[in-house]
Subunit: 251 residues, 2 copies
């Protein structure tokens, strides 16, 4: 299974391939409960016909595209919350996001009961939250994280990239460049907190209007760590105008 | 499947029969997360050998008796909460109870993936919460509510009845008697709130030390209702010393 919010791009199609199964269910559902009132639920790109056409080019998987009413009928009143990897980072800026994600992912996985489900590493914190959710509730599905698909200039593919005009699109490419630079500094033994602070300043320098976070964390728990033996992950979120972009990479 | 906390009595055995399946999994797990610190988790009766012997007399179902560490390993951090039918009644007196129940029931059902799971009507509010949970999360299990098993004098069977000494045991039988009386008043057109208040007073009269609630509610939602066409349920919780007893019945 590949759970998506639609507005499919090549990154999504790579998730379908990463499932490595002859039969793949792709769900398309812009989940209202993971958007805050001030966020872009209403304007989030929707293009079911285009999505179906794209999926046909890679062999027509089964598509599940429910309405909000089908997912949350009258009387619906259950919420799944995950602590652990959901603490901090995205949660500091989107406090209700992961409860919305965990609840809808639980529902989608239990409706389809797939052997595996594929989530992109672009939403790296979400991937860890989903892994924790599935392990904690004994959901009988293996979770696969698939590498970030990128444009030629390094920008992580995202349905939200369509919000960017030409000027903003040029700035957006700076996110991946700055992070690669910071990852290099961290790998060559630079102080991790210095690398974060320099990347934040550089993002503003290349034209981002605000930076929510640049953080180097334990790659499995997202906790702060000084243990040089732990795997690390660099994660960032920054805004150009109203458009919020995220990216991340292994250190 | 029949999820239990062990200390099995004939009521539990009737749940196994109510499953109506050739293969039944009985889980035995005193779930720490549904007890508050001041409650009886430590003293809750445990008797695995006796439980296994009793289950053998009805044909040896499969038993799943995990340790707390198996259910909640290091790093566990997910919680399932159900609104709707969990509001009020038990929640007013045991605020964390239903989150503990919903989370462990989700885990047990997803570990076993049974066709059906049987819950006793004795924990009537819990039965409604579990039904809501299973519907809301798309858990692929049918939920069966089984009638309350009672002692000869009407006392609802409960593992907690072993806490009662002879004097308390006599008082305990009054719970069902008082509720049957109140249900009769309600059925013959008496004011529902008067029937509740009279039953509360009568419970104290027969020797209960305190009464948490006596409530006549919509049998499907547990909401207050004045609609004469809705099915009603009478529910009560009362204490003798430290022992808390619950009972309920249809109006």
């Amino acid at each position: 299974m590949v759970p998506t919010m639609g507005a499919l791009h090549d990154g999504h199609l790579s998730l379908v391939r990463a499932a490595g199964k002859p039969t793949v269910v792709v769900s398309i559902f812009v989940n209202p409960t993971q958007f805050a009132p001030h966020e872009d639920f209403d304007t989030y790109p929707r293009n079911l016909d285009g999505d179906l056409a794209k999926l046909k080019t890679i062999g027509a998987p089964i598509v599940f595209a429910p309405t909000p009413r089908e997912m949350y009928p009258e009387g619906f009143s259950t919420s799944v919350t995950v602590g652990g990897p959901s603490v901090g980072l995205e949660t500091d800026f989107r406090p209700h996001f992961f409860a919305g994600v965990a609840t809808v992912v639980a529902k989608l996985l239990l409706a389809a009961l797939p052997d595996v489900a594929v989530f992109g590493e672009k939403d790296y914190q979400q991937l860890l939250v989903v892994k924790r959710l599935v392990r904690d509730l004994n959901i009988p599905t293996g979770i696969i994280g698939a590498p970030i698909a990128r444009e030629a200039d390094g920008l992580a593919m995202s349905s939200r990239n369509t919000y960017l005009d030409a000027r903003e699109r040029t700035i957006a490419a700076g996110l991946n460049k700055v992070l690669r630079f910071a990852a290099g500094r961290a790998r060559s033994g630079g102080d991790l907190r210095d690398a974060e602070a320099m990347a934040m300043a550089e993002l503003k320098g290349v034209g981002f209007d605000s930076v929510d976070y640049v953080a180097i964390r334990d790659a499995e728990t997202l906790m702060l760590t000084d243990d040089p033996k732990r795997p690390l992950r660099l994660l960032a979120a920054a805004k150009i105008g109203k458009t919020r972009l995220i990216d991340n990479m292994a250190i």
